[in-house]
Subunit: 193 residues, 2 copies
DNA sequence: TTGGCCCGTTCACTTAAGTTAAGAAAGAAT
DNA sequence: ATTCTTTCTTAACTTAAGTGAACGGGCCAA
């Protein structure tokens, strides 16, 4: 698991052995069972997550209905809004598979950022990259229809379609489960013709 | 204009006079006329923008049609995807008003980040904050209808509705101009009843 | 002043998503 | 093995967005 993390980090900065040991000493890794809720609406968590294996999901409860807005899988990083804003969380985070996470908290990060400028550099680069990527995702979402969004997802994250329940995928695509069902039938119809 | 920038920065870090002078010496500020195109599809720009006054707009041209996906106004920062990915831009950026910008380029930033760790800290905090905020915006978009999105916009960025043409607002809301027209008529109808 | 262009609105029509309800299929629990 | 629950699909109906076309207003330029 450490190797996976260090490999990921090496895309951005190269760490000395001292720096690696500093990270190793942090007790970052946690195994989490499917169904575990990592964050609830109203809570003020300090934790950020990096997925080494498995899948976690962000969802809201709006008028008693679950609305799933994001999935994080292998090598995805997530700092919940409440960590940044210091306000109560508006959403839930749960594990939809048995998952292995690297968990860090804000205090820990602040300290490392102070002592290891390289780490702050890593965080900056990673955030900037994620910000730009997410912007593109948002743009694609805005400029395409539900059907295009589904087809796009099939291309870009085919694994999600296998490992995630349809009704969660539906709200991820901004539609109702029934519409997703229908839309898939429609696509199948077209590909036959 | 410098004061506006320094005030903004002071939300995140406090700068010494030396640091302020270093920034002053950079020749960041540019006045740009309404209609100017800052970035075109296919270009590989290095520039990031911070809006001091005015409004810039991100749009795609898809099947010959303009699709506006973002507006940046006073105190908004924008690092285009192509700066981060080093790939050609997929979108255009243009000024929809006479605008005053702070413009920085990647080389400049790299150098400052090296010499002023505080600046890198600022960039990290800003990116993390924007990432989390944009996540919330995206979530709101996914979980609401065009009508709700419009009403939400009226609440959150009432200025945009005044300063931006309807057909650009429409694609910003993920719909066609005709639908926005109709939707507004519908809302007006309801408020009368 | 006229003509052209861009923009926003309206309308009629088409298409697709939301809603409500029902039923089949797959899993989990006892 | 049986029950209970959750998930997915289907269908009929409603509502809203997409499409194509037309009209009027405002603006600019000839």
């Amino acid at each position: 698991m450490q190797d996976i993390l260090f490999n990921f980090i090496s895309r951005y900065v190269s760490l000395t052995n001292d720096e690696k040991n500093a990270i190793r000493s942090l007790d970052l890794f946690h195994s989490v069972k499917k169904g575990t809720i990592l964050l609830k609406e109203g809570q003020k968590s300090q934790n950020s997550y990096f997925v080494l294996k498995g899948c976690i999901r962000v969802y809201y409860i709006i008028n008693g209905e679950e609305k799933t807005t994001a999935f994080y899988t292998e090598l995805d990083a997530l700092t919940p809004h409440c960590v940044v804003s210091k306000a109560p969380s508006q959403y839930y985070i749960s594990c939809i598979e048995d998952t292995i996470l690297a968990v860090s908290n804000a205090d820990m990060e602040a300290e490392i950022n102070c002592n290891f400028p390289k780490f702050e550099s890593l965080c900056r680069m990673l955030s900037e990259e994620l910000l730009a990527k997410q912007r593109i995702d948002f743009d694609e979402f805005k400029t395409s229809s539900p059907e295009q969004r589904y087809l796009n997802l099939v291309q870009k994250r085919p694994d999600l379609i296998q490992r995630v329940p349809q009704h969660q995928l539906a709200s991820y695509l901004g539609i109702k489960p029934q519409s997703l069902s229908r839309l898939r039938a429609r696509i199948l119809e077209k590909s036959k013709a």
